[in-house]
């Protein structure tokens, strides 16, 4: 396959992973779904299952409204809708993390409305700044391991886990290389393509995506010749997820290039590898605590902004587009302080409220256009 064919294939899976997942199921692989974030995919993979991140649906909400009030965030509603209404038979079980009030309740609702062969709560620590969080993550990961072993009927060997860890590390490394290539030559790959690759990584077995990414990396290397002539505005994205994915297409239309982000379905997913460690559960624990901040998880109070500021600085991003999931309470509390920090630092930032079911494209486009024009203006006058 050439670069174009690979991108098309991966993008098709990113947009609709279920034909791919059905194929895996017919091969005898059980599918375990997990909403965001921080479930150790390596462990599920090593147990012989296929870990799949549940990333909601843009299709209409039909059944979820009867279970979740209308001020539940768009992500939780569309996650519930996806599995309850559209793709129920594609999942064999769930590993369910809890990060906020909504996910805690969603977990209860899920167990009652979507019976499955396997359901494991993965209770990640909602603080990361003290030793107890490490001890807890370690214990909870051990508990998950036992549950997975109970479901598969055989122990997860160190060899299997080490192999899975290497595969995931390799896939992440390749995705980082592609991201880095885009930073160097923004037009090498579109925003939509880059983030579709990361999205596909949420759905695909690492052994399936790695060969495709390897070909892409070598093709991109070959292409990376000559300096970019046209000026492209370099942008950092911020938030948790960018949905619907057409928003990336909009960024492409507006000729801006994403060079950094602090998204959960973004850099936070690919930037941190599992370190070498004799104790593999400890290695997974180390990875968890090396990650960049995540809004609902308690961290040093300013780390969310400090981290974003550092990324902006390192990548020379000229502005920040913040994606606010409608009714995400965690982001609601962050935003006013975040805006004032960026104002003080004179970093242009725009906040877009997003919902899975409506792209509100015309309005969003107008606002983004105005924002980007202002960035060109800054450049001229600055």
């Amino acid at each position: 396959m050439n670069q174009k064919e690979i991108l098309e294939k991966v993008q098709a899976i990113a947009q609709d992973p279920f034909p791919y997942l059905k194929g895996k199921k017919t091969e005898g692989r059980k599918i375990l779904g997990s909403p965001l974030a921080d479930v150790p995919s390596e462990l599920i993979h090593a147990a012989g299952f296929l870990p799949v991140t549940i990333l909601g649906t843009n299709r209409p909400i039909v059944k979820a409204s009867a279970h979740l009030p209308d001020n539940a965030c768009s992500l939780s509603r569309s996650n519930l809708e996806l599995v309850l209404n559209y793709q129920r038979e594609d999942f064999d079980g769930f590993v369910f993390p809890q990060v906020c009030d909504t996910t805690q309740h969603l977990s209860d609702i899920w167990k009652m409305t979507i019976p499955s062969e396997f359901f494991a709560s993965f209770l990640i620590p909602r603080q990361v700044d003290r030793t107890s969080a490490r001890h807890w993550f370690y214990a909870e990961t051990q508990r998950l391991k036992s549950q997975l072993e109970g479901f598969s009927g055989s122990p997860i060997t160190d060899d299997a886990l080490r192999k899975s860890i290497r595969l995931y590390n390799e896939a992440r490394t390749l995705l980082r290389e592609i991201y880095q290539a885009k930073r160097m030559s923004p037009t090498l790959i579109s925003n939509r393509q880059l983030f579709d690759l990361i999205r596909a990584f949420c759905f695909m077995a690492p052994e399936d995506i790695i060969p495709l990414l390897q070909t892409l990396v070598s093709d991109l290397d070959a292409e990376k010749s000559g300096e970019e002539k046209k000026r492209v505005i370099r942008i950092s994205l911020s938030g948790i997820v960018v949905e619907p994915a057409e928003l990336f297409g909009l960024l492409d239309e507006l000729k801006v290039s994403v060079v950094a982000d602090d998204l959960i379905v973004g850099s936070r997913m690919i930037d941190y590898d599992v370190p070498e460690h004799e104790d593999l559960i400890m290695a997974l624990t180390e990875r968890h605590f090396s990650k960049s901040p995540f809004s609902p998880i308690r961290d040093v109070g300013t780390r969310l902004y400090d981290h974003l500021l550092r990324r902006v600085e390192e990548t020379k991003a000229e502005g920040i587009i913040y994606f606010h999931i409608k009714f995400c309470e965690s982001q609601d509390y962050d935003l006013p302080d975040m805006k004032s920090v960026m104002r003080e630092r004179k970093i242009p930032m725009i906040v877009l409220e997003t919902e899975y079911q409506t792209a509100a494209k015309a309005q969003t486009k107008t606002r983004l256009e105005a924002f980007i024009e202002s960035l060109y203006g800054e450049q001229i006058h600055g």
Binding site: I109, S121, P125, H135, W136
Partner: protein, 414 residues
């Protein structure tokens, strides 16, 4: 000695304690004492044992809500970019900081913040905002959902206990003073006694007719929320229990005449409306007797192992267990209090207590056969309260109960 002083009523004593508590807090800094903000369900015993004054912004917010200040306070922070669908406690509190308006002249700034997420996650984010504002350390006391898996529970208690030790270290750093575990045992013993008496008081709602309604419970719970761990809280609940026993129970006096419907209330109250609701319901012979919310402070402490008992009690509060277990807790109240009606308030302000309400209703209705009314509003913001709509729905619900009991009397229904 307390006996020699002129005898106060429970209401007078409660007022006196509250004034003393807020006065003390106001002058804490002058006296070299530290102020810690904490959340209603949290191991506040650690503060009392270490001579740090715990202040409950939630409690202060309730005062602002009942004084109908929330809409104005909230608007002041909505202009700063906060949205109107956040918790009304948080909005009232952040608004207070913006406008410096408060019915009690405000609360002192924090030196330290503790947010326990057994109650909710919102508090941790709200306190994070305050922690940045005052540059004061925030300790998130993390209590993973207390799921019914034996191994998970053991591990959770271990994790929570480790955090209590971390918290103690933080307090030692804050004050430069060594923590005294004997003192902690003493404080937990006071908490144990106050909690037992508080529960005894709540359980008086099982008498027929009930001498108290939930509105009495909501007023009287304040003392255990902010003074548990002190001898005064024990004295107060002893006085309260004795008083209700003498003046109501022994005389068979109910809180309303002609008690017909004994209702359960799901969620926090609509604080600014509860007197109106009481009157409306009473006109139908209905009275709300209890809720899981008021029982959130019915703890069962064992002072011989204070760290473990704090961990066990605070991790297992109703808002932090799985839905089935929470339903069982509610069903236990239905049985013990002979409840025959169920008002379920979907509180826009409180995702933590509201979100699985439909599933909760299904379980309770299936087990009790009692129909439930689910209605939506906000516990603190009158802008989200539709008077005529809620009134009509409550009236229609009570008429349904009337119809059902009529059919039962006539043998038309089981």
């Amino acid at each position: 000695m307390a006996e020699k002083e002129p005898k106060l009523t429970a209401k007078e004593f409660s007022k006196q304690l509250t004034q003393k508590y807020y006065e003390g807090a106001k002058h804490a800094h002058e006296q070299g004492k530290y102020i810690a903000y904490t959340t209603a369900v949290s191991p506040a015993e650690l503060f009392y044992a270490h001579d740090v004054i715990p202040i409950y912004p939630e409690n202060h917010s309730v005062m602002m809500i009942t004084h109908r200040m929330t809409a104005e306070l909230s608007q002041s922070i909505e202009r700063k970019g906060y949205t109107s669908h956040l918790c009304a406690y948080a909005r009232s509190d952040l608004g207070f900081r913006e406008l410096q308006k408060s019915p009690i002249g405000g609360i002192p700034d924090p030196d330290f913040l503790l947010a326990c997420n057994a109650q909710c996650f919102t508090l941790t984010k709200w306190f994070e905002v305050l922690s940045r504002r005052y540059n004061a350390p925030l300790f998130v006391f993390d209590t993973p959902q207390f799921i019914r898996d034996k191994r998970a529970r053991e591990e959770i208690i271990k994790y929570v206990m480790e955090q209590i030790y971390e918290m103690i270290e933080s307090l030692e750093t804050l004050t430069g003073k060594k923590f005294d575990f004997d003192r902690l045992r003493e404080v937990v013993e006071y908490s144990r006694q106050a909690s037992i008496l508080y529960k005894t008081y709540l359980d008086m709602a099982s008498y027929k007719p009930s001498p108290i309604s939930i509105f009495d419970a909501l007023i009287n719970m304040a003392i255990t929320v902010y003074l548990r761990g002190t001898p005064e809280a024990v004295q107060f609940y002893q006085l309260l229990v004795d008083e209700v026993m003498e003046t109501k129970v022994k005389k068979g006096i109910g809180v309303i005449p002609n008690e017909k419907y004994r209702l359960y209330w799901e969620n926090l109250p609509i604080w600014f409306k509860f007197r109106d609701h009481f009157k409306l319901l009473a006109s139908y012979g209905a009275v709300i007797l209890t809720s899981l919310y008021v029982h959130a402070w019915s703890y069962d402490f064992d002072p011989s192992d204070p760290v473990r008992t704090l961990a066990e009690n605070y991790a297992s509060v109703f808002s932090n267990v799985e839905l089935e277990e929470r339903a069982e807790m509610a069903l236990d109240l239905f049985r013990r209090y002979s409840l025959n009606g169920n008002l379920m308030f979907l509180n826009r302000s409180c995702k933590a207590v509201s979100f699985a309400i439909h599933e909760l209703r299904d379980i309770i209705t299936e087990k009790t056969g009692i129909p439930a009314l689910i209605f939506e509003s906000d516990m603190g913001d009158p802008r989200f309260y539709s008077e005529s709509q809620i009134r009509t729905r409550i009236e229609a619900y009570l008429e349904t109960l009337d119809q059902l009991s009529f059919e039962r009397e006539r043998g038309l229904r089981e």
